[in-house]
């Protein structure tokens, strides 16, 4: 299998290319994804290669993009709609919560809805409060949806392929701050990374740091730079989350820090924390701490104060390590 050095945008593009080549049920639709190649270039070249019947530049209507994709999926296609920024997904929220997530259930399993809703999320491009949101919690709380977020090019491709070839609707959240942040060797052929499995990015004994998506590199840099003997888990799938990987690590280390970019209150970190403590507290040596975005919108000029950074992660790690 030949491979190539790719950033995340290129890896996603390669995944879409493979998926479209191997299955004519795969259709892309969204704003500016055709002629323009997508505002982040994820779909570049695909219109030329697969034609306007499979790469649809749509009018400006997210509820229509998602709703139309659902209709395609219900009738046997495998659409992959794109929402230009996750911040603009909310007009489609009714389609997501009341249609996409519930079709299999409400039809008694007669119909299903295999599709992947891709969207870039998170801060990092100085986009202010409307181009920086991390809304994973809204989706994670919606039964029927699978929620996936990659943290590197290799995973991005493998997870997107698995998402599209699965049987259930997937919300696929792409951390835009990592789109061009790092390059990796990525196979040019199609391959899968399983949904529902976390990755142990680094083994360690002193504590477990649980994170995902946009925060993985920040956590890893902090851990390396400060030589922290942490086990770092990259969840990769938020729903269904990898309970076994989490519990395995936590029972080993007895100390937990959770890191995500979304606001703390009602963020996915709360779920992870609760999940751990309801399975027992005897193995915990310290309070479970969360390092998250604050309960406020993402500011433009002061973005760097918003996003969790080395200092804040280190603070939490130190606090957790100090506890008896």
């Amino acid at each position: 299998m030949t491979s190539k050095t790719m950033n995340m945008v290129q890896a996603l593009n390669s995944a879409l290319d493979n998926l479209m080549a191997s299955d004519d049920r795969v259709i892309l639709l969204g704003e500016d994804i055709g002629t323009d190649g997508g505002v982040f270039r994820v779909t570049e070249g695909l219109l030329a290669k697969y034609g306007p019947e499979r790469v649809l530049d749509t009018p400006l209507v997210e509820v229509g993009i998602v709703g139309m994709a659902i209709g395609m999926a219900v009738q046997g296609l495998r659409p992959i709609p794109e929402i230009q920024f996750q911040d603009f997904i909310y007009t489609a929220m009714d389609q997501i919560i009341n249609q996409m997530a519930k079709i299999r259930f409400r039809s008694g399993g007669e119909y299903d809805c295999p599709m992947v809703l891709r969207t870039p999320y998170g801060a990092g491009v100085k986009g202010g409060l409307y181009h920086s949101q991390s809304g994973e919690s809204y989706f994670a709380h919606t039964a029927g949806l699978t929620v996936v977020t990659p943290s590197n090019p290799y995973d991005a491709k493998g997870l997107l392929v698995s998402s599209s070839q699965g049987d259930d609707p997937v919300i696929f959240l792409e951390p835009k701050r990592l789109y061009r942040a790092l390059k990796q060797e990525v196979p040019e052929d199609i391959y899968k990374i399983p949904i529902g499995k976390a990755e142990v990015v680094q083994s360690g004994d002193d504590l477990t740091i649980i994170t995902y998506g946009s925060m993985v590199p920040t956590v890893m840099e902090t851990v390396k730079k400060n030589q922290i003997n942490a086990e770092v888990l990259d969840l990769r799938t938020l729903v269904p989350v990898d309970r076994d990987a989490i519990m395995h690590s936590v029972q080993k280390t007895g100390r937990v820090v959770i890191v995500h970019e979304a606001p703390r209150t009602g963020g996915f970190g709360g779920e992870i924390s609760a999940m751990i403590t309801e399975r027992g507290i005897d193995f915990l040596y310290a309070p479970i701490l969360r390092v998250t975005g604050p309960d406020s919108p993402v500011p433009y000029r002061m973005e760097e104060y918003y996003v969790p950074n080395e200092k804040r992660i280190l603070n939490a790690v130190n606090k957790v390590m100090e506890s008896a």
Partner: protein, 340 residues
């Protein structure tokens, strides 16, 4: 001679028209049965269809078997005319173990994949963008079928109407939008829903807008046929404003006396069934005896089927938690263990 031919061609339409009328009668009979069963506490909830039979049957007459319907909660007459077994409808109302949707949905939220009737959702109009997507799938697969999507007059104010209409027009999709304009959205009359006639809305999207007499099943059939033929021929979507009247309450929970005086009453000359009868007799397709027979058969069928379906046991509680995903998540497994 011309006269003669006309008569013959007319004669060949007879079975089709009789079948249409029979579906209307069956639906009306079922409607009344369910409403009275609801009052007796044998049914939880229902949205009656009275007044919308002719328009739905008219549309259905113009459809082919493999055409798709993205309908809504009042589409019983259309389902019956398309051949959906009456049991499918009653079992859904009961939410019993024979229900296609396994008792998960509120009454009036039907599913029948076998008859290409997409499962009904409650949020008004959110089937419209799906209908556009389904039509896209048909077009992409070069199938010669069309999608029909139905919704009320209130639905025209929603985001999903705007989205579905525009997308269908922009991508020139084989879909016909049928507004079952019954004059009311619960308590809001259509005159306060929007300042224009519904058919007028088509002009904002660049598709034809047809106003049809939805109380006359033959008129409705003709209007639907034109639109469906256009869609099938690749000429794109049409909006049909099917003028009708919601003869009953919005639902069994609703009390219309709070907000209106009923304008069309059962058996009056505006009743679509009465109009249908007149059409059939004036064409010499039916006489009182035949009509009577159809009515009696409907009553017999409804009573029998209703009683039979009522005896079907409820679903196994476990089914209430299945089909959320293809395979049950560990979370749900854990939770179900606590519940059952």
């Amino acid at each position: 001679m011309e006269q003669q031919q006309k008569k013959e061609s007319k004669q060949s339409e007879k079975p089709q028209y009789i079948r249409a009328y029979a579906a209307m009668v069956l639906s009306r009979t079922l409607d009344k049965k369910i409403v009275s069963a609801q009052r007796q506490g044998r049914v939880g909830f229902y949205t009656p269809t009275m007044g919308q039979e002719a328009l739905q049957v008219g549309v259905s007459m113009a459809l082919e078997k493999e055409d798709l319907v993205y309908g809504y909660y009042r589409d019983v007459p259309m389902m019956l005319h398309r051949g959906v077994p009456i049991e499918t409808i009653i079992n859904q109302i009961m939410g019993n173990s024979a229900d296609t949707a396994k008792g998960r949905q509120m009454p009036s939220h039907y599913t029948s994949k076998a008859f290409h009737f997409m499962s009904v959702q409650s949020p008004v109009a959110s089937n419209l963008p799906l209908a556009a997507g389904a039509a896209y799938a048909l077009k992409y697969r070069k199938k010669k079928n069309v999608v029909i999507t139905t919704f009320g007059d209130g639905a025209t104010s929603t985001p999903d109407f705007h989205a579905g209409m525009n997308l269908a027009a922009v991508f020139k999709l084989p879909v016909v939008f049928v507004c079952e304009n019954n004059g009311w959205a619960i308590s809001l009359p259509v005159e306060r829903q929007t300042m224009v006639e519904i058919s007028q809305k088509a002009s904002a999207y660049g598709m034809p807008g047809i106003k049809a007499d939805g109380m006359n099943f033959i008129e409705m059939y003709k209007a639907a046929r034109t639109a469906i033929q256009d869609a099938r021929a690749g000429k794109g979507p049409t909006l049909i404003d099917a003028l009708s009247y919601r003869m009953g309450p919005h639902s069994t929970s609703d009390d219309p006396s709070k907000y209106r005086k009923d304008e069309v009453t059962e058996g009056s000359e505006k009743d679509p069934l009465v109009i249908g009868e007149k059409l059939l007799t004036s064409m010499d397709f039916a006489d009182d005896k035949l009509l009577e027979k159809i009515r009696n058969e409907a009553i017999k069928t409804v009573d029998e089927k209703f009683d039979a379906c009522e005896k079907i046991p409820p679903p196994d509680p476990l089914t209430a938690f299945q089909d959320v995903y293809k395979n049950m998540t560990w979370m749900l497994e854990e939770e179900v263990k606590n519940i059952l």
